[in-house]
Symmetry: C2
Subunit: 365 residues, 2 copies
């Protein structure tokens, strides 16, 4: 899931000043609590990029907060604010960086404007699945790089869930060749969008609330979103009948990210509680996406046709992706560094993945 609607600039403008005042008060409290932490209640404000109780992602962070409260015997309260209540959906990074709020829950792919390298932490087209991404973070050096680079923004990131494999999107017309993609207007952000651009697609960005109408009216020809569970809620199947299997988001990573100074002032116990709860959230979200996607797939109307892109698409998409990665590596030393770490893990993982996961999925049917 990608870009979301912004709150009005008026509110955003008004917020900044108010938050600054808020920040100073919060900071003082944090400093005080560090010495009297044991058994004392700590309250953290966490803003998300999702509507209140948004399925799977939003309810996931609600459960995470509840879990932190339980695990701490009530000494750690994380107040979850849906998008646009405290901070506009896509201002949560800046607001946490500036200590206007303590933490946020969002998707890593939103912040490539801050540093192009961040898009890799969010996931790679035609790349690692969720479980493999997390292995890279924990055992392959991904976390070290992420924390180093977020550290420059005074942020401390944790993996805060993952969507599992996403679908390729909804198309009004069937795609039988690369030429069918030329000139197509498609809502698709991120590295996937840049690959599509090289294939002649015109990638457009739209707030969530406008996608269905644009697709239904033919203002756009196609859109990607997440997978069957969340796509069904958006009603896309009513506006486009060809549902393409995924390639550009095989394992998107969400994040629970804290203001670094605030994080460092938490007690080791509260840090451990947040970390363990985020791990639990990540596993459960992956499983919940699997279960609900499987169910929603079964319930799609009969007129929906599940399609794979033609083989020539993948050949062209891989070539285009290599070009995009080379371009971004030239432009950003950080991107190059993170890409090298990712690719090194990919090379290590692939032979094992081939003879284990892939082999087992192929033989079992």
């Amino acid at each position: 899931m990608k870009r979301r609607d912004f709150i009005t600039t008026a509110v955003l403008g008004a917020g900044t000043l108010a938050f600054s005042g808020c920040h100073r008060a919060e900071k003082q409290t944090a400093e005080n609590t560090v010495n009297i932490n044991k058994g004392k209640k700590v309250t953290l404000k966490l803003a998300t990029s999702w509507p209140a109780h948004f399925p799977i992602m939003g309810t996931g962070v609600d459960t995470f907060a509840k879990r932190c409260f339980e695990l701490s015997g009530g000494t750690l309260e994380i107040k979850v604010y849906p998008k646009n209540i405290l901070v506009p959906a896509l201002q949560v990074f800046d607001a946490t960086s500036a200590a206007q709020i303590d933490a946020f829950h969002s998707g890593v792919y939103y912040w490539k404007g801050k540093n192009p390298a961040f898009s890799i932490f969010g996931g790679m087209p035609l790349g690692l699945l969720s479980e493999e991404m997390i292995t890279w973070f924990k055992f392959g050096g991904g976390y070290e790089l992420w924390r180093e680079m977020y550290g420059k923004f005074n942020l401390y990131p944790l993996i805060g869930g993952t969507t599992g494999p996403q679908m390729g999107g909804w198309f009004k017309k069937e795609i039988n060749s690369l030429s069918d993609l030329k000139g197509l207007k498609m809502r698709i952000p991120g590295l996937g969008g840049e690959v599509m651009k090289k294939l002649g697609v015109n990638p457009v960005l739209l707030p969530a609330g406008e996608i269905y109408t644009a697709l239904e009216r033919g203002t756009i020809d196609a859109t990607e979103w997440v997978g069957p569970a969340l796509d069904s809620m958006m009603g896309f199947d009513k506006a486009a009948h060809y549902y393409y299997t995924g390639w550009h988001e095989p394992g998107s990573i969400l994040e629970i990210t804290f203001n670094k100074a605030r994080w460092e002032k938490l007690s080791p116990e509260h840090q451990a509680i947040i970390t363990a709860a985020s791990e639990e959230m990540t596993g459960t979200m992956l499983q919940e996406f699997r279960y609900k996607n499987a169910k929603a797939l079964q319930e799609l109307p009969d007129y929906v046709q599940i399609k794979n892109f033609p083989p020539e698409f993948f050949t062209a998409a891989k070539k285009a992706l290599r070009e995009v990665l080379a371009e971004q590596s030239r432009e950003s030393a950080d991107f190059k560094r993170v890409l090298e770490s990712y690719q090194s893990f990919y090379a290590l993982n692939e032979p094992w993945s081939d003879i284990s996961t892939k082999h087992l999925l192929e033989i079992r049917n």
Copy 2:
């Protein structure tokens, strides 16, 4: 301290009668502490089926115990006893059931003698991968059945890690046809062993410490174990050069299981801590197995040949598995019930798995 430390090896040896008395005393202590739990220290004894600090599984449970201590601010201490210290490796189920110890960490596949249905909770040949198994437990009804059936043994189970995909095993000779399997002596337990038996293999059980010598001397012709990381430590590559890809353990589940009465007397906070720490352990173990298997695979000697079983093997193995499952369903109503739940989730999951995970692994290379 919540539980007295009075079970000595001598007492353990003294038998059931002594334990019954012991159990009643323990119960009373637990009931008293339930009201004064908050902030009071609880100590639990957990026995494992692994040697001390055994890689990945043993270190996993060490980390789990450490995490419970951290999360509880030191109020929950889980003392981990490697196999044969408090209880023999395969007596941990009975000892926990009888409240001689509080909990155990082991593999679910060990307990099919208690109830044939338990083998399904441990994993299914040619079946679900770890992440899919866990989804079945949490969202498809697996946990309810497991807890109901373990409840009859006064046990409360939690998933306590998973090995991820295992390999098919080490063979001294290449397997080019089904006839190459006839009369082969192979160390292979569980449902996989029963399938192999129907294909003419003579499955044998051997203690871990005797497998290498048996393979090296030709007393057995083949053995399965886990995967590259743990197999390398056993030196199997020195005794057999054909390493077959996996089919019989696609997602084996380990367990952290508690004496149920003891579990129910824990505070909600300590229950939440154990649950969250077990979830963290499960994710991390899967990722650690992936990373270390990938590394160990790269480091295998050149003379090791990685092989797939021939296609006719899978046709025959699927037929044999259907027979084994039908036989066990006739013999055990519990087996039939758990199998139906498993198969119902499998049927739901498979179409989504096909167009997501499997598709993504196939297109990315």
